[in-house]
């Protein structure tokens, strides 16, 4: 008898409660699907990149090493201090390039990690905007599977180009000039070499 007014508030409350349950259920489904994106998954992306890049670097390194050997041999500088200096420099450049590849691998994994998290955020937003848990699940499945697809990596460009231009060629030219009694504008590191010293001759 006492109550006769509208119950629109109660209806809205019931609908809101149901909406919140749907959102939580949808988020749980997304989280359950994304649980596979764990440390080993991201590490695998890093490893995939390094496995892709290191052989390319190895090939370029071998080529550069051969170039160095030929250049030294042409000038009669094998087993000289020039060889020792340039070999050391080549080794440094190789190590720096390996660092670069390792960094790129980690960055690939980190980017994937960010993408996964962005995707999760996007799905959460869609669920809150009214996406039903069932549709959210299928969308999450689609997005999750996209992350497991192989990604095309950029090829490793000539990593030792700078070594030839900046170190090997100027150094050998400076050695030749000094050996011939001339002078030249040599890079700083090369000036340490001074005259050619033969070791283990």
């Amino acid at each position: 008898m006492a109550s006769s007014g509208s119950d629109s508030g109660a209806q809205l409350r019931a609908e809101e409660d149901q909406r919140q349950r749907n959102i939580l259920a949808g988020q749980k489904q997304v989280d359950a699907l994304f649980v596979g994106f764990d440390e080993p998954f991201f590490k695998a992306r890093e490893t995939a990149y390094t496995k892709y890049a290191v052989p390319q670097l190895a090939e370029q390194f071998q080529d550069e090493k051969r170039n160095l050997s030929y250049a030294l041999a042409r000038r009669g500088l094998l087993r000289s201090s020039a060889q020792s200096t340039l070999s050391g420099k080549l080794e440094d450049v190789k190590n720096q390039q390996l660092q670069q590849i390792a960094d790129m691998g980690v960055e690939q994994a980190n980017k994937l990690r960010k993408d996964v998290e962005s995707s999760r955020t996007g799905l959460y937003s869609q669920i809150q905007a009214g996406l039903s848990p069932t549709i959210a699940k299928s969308q999450a499945l689609r997005e999750a599977s996209a992350f497991t697809q192989p990604t095309a990596f950029e090829p490793v460009v000539n990593s030792f180009a700078d070594f030839s231009k900046q170190y090997m060629n100027p150094y050998l030219i400076s050695q030749y000039s000094q050996g011939a009694g001339g002078s030249s504008g040599t890079p700083d590191f090369a000036s340490k070499g001074g005259t050619i010293k033969y070791v283990n001759g």
């Binding site: 007014g5 050997s69 190590n95």
Partner: protein, 197 residues
């Protein structure tokens, strides 16, 4: 002359009407308070849910945690560098065994130091990543809670309106009784002439 019976009936009806209206008002007030209390309770629970998330997030943004993440990031990078540098690049052989010996000791030290320096620098990337992901996850959780709180609060006016209207019947009957009582009292006071004059 007064007519006693209509006066008594009128007084009784007026009293009943006033009482019913008072009861309706009291019930309305009670229901409105209940709706308000329920909403405040919901908001409080949501706030209690959000508070630890915010607290944890703030703690995870502290300089101490940043230091740990930088350290962990640097260690991870250093391990990655060393793992690759331990690999032999193809059929890599020293150009000359003799010179290689002189090169190795110095370059090993240089390599180790280079790895440490670069790893320390790149450790910041790990810290940024960890903070970014943490913030995204926290924003997701807080966004959900805030959305719930906002939606819940938006329903309260409708619930209050329902509460206000819920006692309309009781109030209406009370009002009718009051009017009837007043009419009956007027009739009794007029001596049954049906008017005041």
């Amino acid at each position: 002359m007064f007519q006693l019976i209509p006066l008594i009936i009128g007084a009784a009806m007026t009293a009943a009407g006033v009482g019913m209206q008072a009861a309706a008002n009291e019930n309305t007030r009670k229901r409105m308070n209940e709706a308000l209390d329920a909403e405040l309770d919901r908001q409080r629970r949501l706030q209690e849910e959000a508070s630890p998330i915010v607290k944890k997030s703030v703690e995870q943004s502290s300089p101490d945690v940043a230091q740990q993440q930088l350290y962990s990031g640097a260690a991870k990078r250093k391990a990655a560098y060393e793992e690759l540098q331990q690999q032999r690049l193809g059929s890599s052989q020293p150009l000359d065994k003799g010179t290689a010996k002189t090169v190795t000791a110095a370059s090993e030290q240089k390599k180790t130091q280079g790895n440490l320096n670069r790893a320390a620098l790149m450790g910041y990337s790990e810290w940024e990543l960890q903070q970014l992901i943490k913030n995204m996850q926290v924003a997701n959780k807080l966004g959900t809670i805030a959305g719930f709180a906002e939606a819940s609060a938006s329903i309260l006016p409708y619930e209050l309106r329902d509460a206000q209207g819920s006692q309309a019947n009781l109030s209406g009957i009370g009002s009718l009784l009051q009017q009837g009582g007043q009419t009956s009292t007027s009739y009794g006071l007029s001596g049954g002439s049906g008017g005041y004059s």
